[in-house]
């Protein structure tokens, strides 16, 4: 590990939450405009976190904030591994640690609202995890290695060979950002019949930690989309931004569905198109150069 790597790591540690915070601000602004409101200032997510950190640390049990720390720590690790072009399959496994930490954190409070929210989030894992791993498999099939560096060194964009997986990944983005129609485990909007679902019992510094984790998660998830077009980073960033904005628009024009519906959608349509894409890669055996 040289000086450059350390600088990059520090940059990611500081830069990612700033970008994530701005993204969350844009999200709220855009959502407000779509709903005919003026909306909060762009930096509102930052003000929220600042305020939350100054609040009392209200808890229902001693260990609930431990899960938040684990969530944020592994969120950062998966982002760092993505930036350092590590093994994509491994990145997905590390990302699973942070998802599970949040779920177990919600359940650990024992609150009925949080437990229902966590149960639904577990079902979300069942829906998106196969698609994520097939995305990793697609990267292997076109580059011959699971290491992301091969994709970044190539001169053809990944999207050329994996259009169907790209579509499936947009749904994954929607599920993971907890946006409508898949926002049933917890939601930023006030229309939850489950109070705040999985995060009901989190307040003050604990909730601030989760928000910061979300900022990193925004960057991580759009980063996975960026991988589809790394040849020209500008196009990659534009695709990522477009995907993010698309998710926000979908959030505002759809109503929440049953979790069963999401599971059916994922295990029929999303898996089918991903597998078709994978089968295509097996048959044509393209190599990304």
């Amino acid at each position: 590990m040289n000086v450059n790597d350390i600088l990059t790591a520090v940059l990611v540690l500081i830069g990612a939450p700033i970008i994530g915070c701005l993204a969350a601000g844009i999200d709220r602004k855009l959502t407000a405009r779509l709903q005919g409101r003026v909306g909060p200032p762009l930096l509102q997510p930052y003000y929220d976190v600042k305020k939350l950190l100054s609040k009392d640390n209200m808890i229902v049990n001693e260990s609930q904030n431990l899960y938040v720390v684990v969530y944020v720590a592994f969120m950062i690790l998966s982002l760092l591994m993505l930036v350092f072009k590590a093994d994509i399959l491994m990145i997905i496994f590390v990302y699973t640690i942070s998802s599970i930490a949040l779920i177990v954190g919600g359940m650990s409070t024992g609150s009925p609202y949080a437990r229902i929210g966590s149960s639904r989030e577990i079902m979300a894992i069942l829906s998106y995890e196969p698609v994520l791993i097939l995305y990793a498999l697609a990267i292997y099939l076109v580059t011959g290695t699971f290491k992301l560096s091969a994709v970044l060194d190539a001169s053809t964009p990944l999207l050329m060979y994996t259009p169907l997986i790209f579509i499936a990944m947009l749904f994954v983005l929607n599920i993971k950002l907890k946006k409508s129609p898949f926002d049933y485990s917890t939601s930023h909007h006030a229309h939850q019949e489950l109070v705040k679902g999985m995060l009901t019992e989190y307040s003050g510094p604990g909730l601030a930690g989760i928000e910061i984790g979300h900022f990193y998660e925004y960057v991580f998830l759009t980063g996975l989309i960026f991988v589809f077009w790394t040849v020209n980073p500008l196009i990659g960033v534009l695709i990522s931004i477009a995907a993010f904005l698309l998710v926000i628009v979908i959030d505002n024009i759809t109503a929440r569905v049953y979790w069963q519906w999401m599971l059916k959608l994922s295990w029929t349509l999303l898996l089918a198109i991903s597998i078709v894409n994978i089968a295509f890669l097996y048959i044509t055996k393209p190599t990304l150069v």
């Binding site: 009392d56 640390n57 209200m58 808890i59 229902v60 049990n61 260990s63 904030n65 431990l66 720390v69 684990v70 720590a73 592994f74 690790l77 591994m81 590590a86 093994d87 399959l89 491994m90 496994f93 590390v94 699973t96 640690i97 599970i100 779920i103 177990v104 919600g106 359940m107 650990s108 409070t109 024992g110 009925p112 609202y113 949080a114 437990r115 229902i116 966590s118 149960s119 577990i122 079902m123 894992i125 069942l126 995890e129 196969p130 791993i133 097939l134 498999l137 292997y140 099939l141 290695t145 699971f146 290491k147 109070v195 009901t200 019992e201 003050g204 510094p205 898996l271 994978i278 089968a279």
Partner: protein
């Protein structure tokens, strides 16, 4: 030196089993501790003796061969006797077939002049599992069985400990011997031990399930015996290691190899044989832990992995890989729909053995390494999980996952150990996930296998995550008193630390045991390096050290910042309708009386329930086996 260790590893457990028979109950604890120390010391001694093979010839051989013959006859007579006594005609029919085959092979197969033992790294790993994990489980049993028998008004502990110790002797023999005839005897002895222990409760359910296990394993035994006859009459092969090396080409021995694999499938409870392992869950928990999760079922995958040279890169190998991965995904789906913790673990065991078989079937050096490593890591994690389930059952009186909510308040140490076991099954940096990662990378060449693995792995995450969340949730029910006995908590903590230590030392374990073994089997070692805390193959890198470091950092940060924000405790949110005058945890309903809130996990029984999937599972798995066999013959 090695010869002595091998003989002691077989005879001393038999001695212990006799001691359990003669000595009184009061001495069991001391005996179990002694057995645990013996097992640990001697399995380590065997590892230090190194690898190699030795033959038994001359008068020694003649004597032991006679003992083997007598034991074989006794096994068959015993099966005749019990199946006639309980009027179980299918088993009796199978026993007749086994007897006929044995008689046939006695008359027609040329007698062998010597027998050999072959200690390779894989045998060493198996001996370590059997003698350390196995005796730890027996130690746990001494703190468990009294209460178990008290509940059920039984007094059969002599039989219990005798069979458990005898089983360890049989298993030790099974993983060290190379001569197929002797291997077959040990194979049948483990089947018999399993039967005795499953029907331990002596009620109708126990006896029926015992016979189911016996019958299905006898099917495997018949398949095994036929394979031995074909091998010795047609190819003049009488040793396990000979199948891969002596045969002219892999395709020639495909039929007997396929038959041996079917015997392995039956012993490892793969679909369609899996029903015996589910039935076996009626036995006391230490039995489930020892025989049906971490040890005996490994005999099946042991044989299958040992046969890798005979089917690597053939159509038979591909068929085995597809079959194993199919069992993996099917049983993971079935586990998702179960509320009974022991059934979840049983399905999870079958699924993981399926993953081992799939990896073996893929047959690349990387995949075979994954298979052997998964046998090791799975054995430790699963033994811990089973024992924890048993202890949880004694603490809260239920093995229903839903009843386990709030366990962290009732028995913190036990819950943390159980949680460690579950986390080690589903998350990095622990060994099981590492091997899952390796097998996924190895399987990425085969589209069907990899899709099955992907789906199965997502399902695995789900059923463990919801169980983990349930035991960690802190509902504030009344506290129960836990009885912390050293005999039960020592094995649990020992296995828990074994998970962590083996996961940290994963590369050293790979380098010492697995790499040389894969080289022996396939004449090629997987390209794996271990710099910078990574388990790096040609196509990826598993950064386990980074995860351990971040995990430690997270704990440190949590402890450091804990006091920065002074916690204020409150009860959880109930829309302001808490019962303020009582424990604040119940809803006030419309009649101003109180209702307890009750939340249950999602089990998707309508999609993944046993009634929905079992028939499909039987049909497809039988088709796959027929394809494997057909591929073997053609």
């Amino acid at each position: 030196m090695m010869e002595n260790t091998v003989m002691l590893l077989i005879t001393v457990p038999i001695l212990f089993s006799l001691l359990f028979l003669v000595l009184g109950k009061s001495l069991y604890k001391i005996l179990a501790w002694a057995f645990f120390i013996f097992g640990t010391v001697f399995s380590v001694l065997l590892v230090m003796d190194g690898t190699g093979r030795f033959e038994i010839t001359g008068s020694n051989f003649a004597m032991i061969e006679n003992v083997v013959l007598i034991l074989e006859v006794l096994v068959i007579l015993f099966i005749f006797f019990v199946s006639a006594k309980y009027k179980n005609w299918p088993t009796l029919g199978l026993a007749v077939i086994v007897a006929a085959i044995s008689a046939y092979s006695y008359m027609n197969v040329a007698a062998i002049e010597s027998a050999s033992f072959n200690i390779d790294q894989f045998s060493q790993v198996m001996v370590l599992i059997v003698n350390i994990v196995g005796t730890a489980i027996i130690l746990f049993a001494t703190g468990y069985m009294d209460e178990y028998e008290e509940h059920r008004h039984l007094n059969r502990q002599k039989t219990f400990y005798f069979t458990m110790s005898f089983f360890i002797a049989a298993m030790n023999g099974l993983v060290m011997v190379d001569t197929l005839g002797w291997l077959y005897l040990f194979w049948e002895l483990t089947t018999l031990c399993s039967f005795v222990l499953i029907s331990y409760n002596m009620d109708e359910e126990g006896i029926n399930n015992g016979f189911r296990a016996l019958a299905l394993n006898l099917v495997g035994g018949v398949s095994f015996a036929i394979a031995i006859i074909i091998l010795s009459t047609k190819f003049n092969i009488s040793t396990l290691s000979g199948i891969g090396t002596e045969a002219a080409s892999a395709a020639v021995v495909a039929l007997p190899v396929a038959l041996l694999c079917i015997a392995g499938f039956a012993k490892s409870a793969q679909m369609p044989f899996h029903s015996w392992l589910l039935g076996a869950m009626v036995a006391p928990t230490p039995v489930s832990a020892l025989l049906h999760s971490s040890t005996m079922v490994n005999a099946g995958v042991y044989i299958i992995v040992k046969l890798v040279p005979a089917y690597a890169n053939t159509s038979l190998g591909t068929a085995i890989a597809v079959y194993g991965s199919f069992t993996f995904v099917m049983c993971s789906a079935l586990a998702l729909s179960q509320r009974n913790a022991k059934r979840v673990l049983a399905y999870s065991t079958i699924a993981n053995l399926g993953l081992i078989i799939a990896s073996a079937g893929i047959g690349t050096p990387l995949a075979v390494a994954a298979a052997i490593m998964l046998i090791l890591f799975h054995a430790i994690s699963k033994a811990l999980l089973f024992l924890c389930t048993g202890e949880i059952e004694h603490t809260i009186g239920s093995r229903d996952i839903e009843d386990m909510s709030g366990l962290i308040k009732k028995a913190p140490l036990l819950t943390i150990l159980a949680a460690l076991g579950m986390v080690s099954m589903l998350l990095p940096p622990f060994g099981v996930l590492l091997t899952k990662w390796v097998s996924m990378q190895a399987a990425s060449q085969n589209p069907i296998v990899i899709v099955f693995l992907v789906l199965g792995s997502a399902l695995t995450t789900v059923y463990y995550a919801k169980w983990l969340g349930t035991i960690m949730s802190s509902t504030m029910d009344k506290n129960v008193v836990t009885h912390k006995k050293p005999e039960t908590y020592f094995p649990l903590s020992f296995l828990g630390s074994a998970i962590v230590v083996t996961s940290i030392l994963v590369f050293a374990i790979y380098d010492y045991f697995i790499r040389p073994q894969v080289e022996t089997l396939l004449n090629a070692a997987p390209v794996i390096s271990g710099q910078a805390g990574q388990f790096a193959s040609e196509i990826g890198a598993f950064a386990y050290a980074a995860i351990f470091v971040v995990l430690a950092l997270a704990l440190l940060i949590y402890v450091a910042t804990k006091n920065m924000f002074t916690p204020r405790k409150s009860s959880y949110y109930m829309c302001g309708e808490n019962n303020l005058e009582m424990d604040r945890l119940m809803f006030r309903n419309g009649l101003c009386s109180y209702d307890k809130s009750n939340v249950s996990n999602i089990y998707l029984e309508n999609t993944f329930g046993e009634s929905k999937l079992t028939t499909i599972g039987y049909a497809i798995s039988i088709i796959l086996i027929v394809i494997a066999l057909a591929g073997g013959v053609l």
